[in-house]
Amino acid sequence: MNSYMGYVRKDGSVGSRNHVAIIPSVVCANEVAESIVQNTIQTQGIIHHQGCCQTPPDLERITDCLIKVGENPNVGASLIVSLGCEGVDTDRLEQALIATGKPVERINIQELGGTSAAIQAGIDKAQELVLKISGYQRTEVDLSTFVMGIKCGASDTTSGVASNPVIGYVADKIVDLGGTVIFGETTEFIGAEHILQRRAKNDFVASEIGRIVDEMEARAKAIGVDMRKGQPTPGNIEGGLSTIEEKSLGAIVKSGTKTIEGVIGYTEKPSGKGLWIKDSPGREIELLSGMAVGGAQVILFSTGRGAPQGFPVVPVIKICGNPITYDRMSRDMDVNAGKIVTGERSIEEVGEEVFQMLLEVASGKTSKGEAIKYTKSMDFYCLGPVI
């Protein structure tokens, strides 16, 4: 079965969830946004720490990111919570979200007379939005509409050999079925960028891969850090990694084997189907947010040590390559890929298990993290300083 049950949006994108996003346009509106979320169902707070006293490019970047999160197909409606004097262009944010055809409301804390008044007004607005969208029905859609994000974190020796290859298997399958896969973590390409470049669709895409790696390195060098030097680390070598190529390939293997269609910026969505690279750092909160900004409906997340993160509006499926970690943290880990290293299951068998779970989660089944509300790991990746 190569279909799933999703919420078809007006622009043709398909949601695996139907949340009301409560979007503070600036960090100063987080308290109000959180209170609204606590007092309503079906709402998720887009709680970030940006939006003011930043460089103009970063303010534009945050505005773009908030727009794209509101556009994410897992969001059925949005409530913008504005302080009133923020640096983010809240008018542009509101206009862009109205253009999606989804219900949008906006409140202004300063105009409403402060925190408690804004919380009350916000709960009323959120309630109206929930009533508007809660009756939406799922319909059966083809997997070619599917957009998947991928990530690895808290990795160990098993990640490169068990859980990342499992994600690679699923990524190849989604691409073969006409869907879209986004992978990122530019910092982890270092040492194996030449191998990724061989998979590029054309010379331009290959040069773009080189460019984003060079830029990420240059940013580190600008503060006196050489990310390439001393890789692999003594701990990596003790664990069995011999070269930087091996270390980087262990991370890249989760992208599968398909052609790389293009490189997109942190605030961008893929402009077509297939496998795409998103220029992004490796840290969970910024990477997961980048995937949501890119339109991901579900994120597959590989771990060995046990990374528990989850995003507000996008379900994250945890695939654990280490059987000991899985036993210890089975309430956080959705799939036990540790069976690969114990010889009980093959990479292909666990890959099929994950693929089936992906269809179920895309169709509405909750991930373990969602069920216990581990869904707040987010922030946006900025380039400039706070000023």
């Binding site: 050999v161 040492g191 194996a192 069995g240 011999s242 070269t243 293997v253 290293v341 990479i347």
Partner: protein
């Protein structure tokens, strides 16, 4: 002598596999491919958990392949069943010491 120790071969073209277990010289380990098919291999020397074992004889300068891609080259001859690590392979990336400029210094 433990066939219970397993090693994962990630790609059909790989000439190394990653061991999940601590093997001692003379142990017979099971090499598993992506589909879960296994074959036995005798370990030539002690190999720690998470380290690599050679699946064929590898000559000096020959590519070490994992995930179907190169992870380095052999710096000394490597025998079947031998531990493959920094003592017998080296990166071919970021080698400033190989650059003409570097050599001139």
């Amino acid at each position: 002598m433990s066939e219970k120790i397993r090693a994962i071969k990630n790609h059909d073209n790989d000439n190394v596999a990653t061991l999940f277990g601590t093997a001692t010289s003379g142990d017979i380990v099971t090499i598993l491919d992506k589909a879960g098919k296994g074959f036995p291999l005798t370990v030539l020397q002690d190999i720690p958990y998470g380290h690599k074992i050679a699946l064929i004889e590898i000559a000096v300068g020959q590519q070490i392949t994992k995930y179907g891609e190169e992870i380095g080259i052999a710096t000394i001859p490597i025998a079947l069943g031998e531990h493959v690590h920094i003592q017998n392979i080296d990166s071919i990336r970021g080698r400033g010491d190989w650059d003409k400029e570097g050599a001139a210094k």
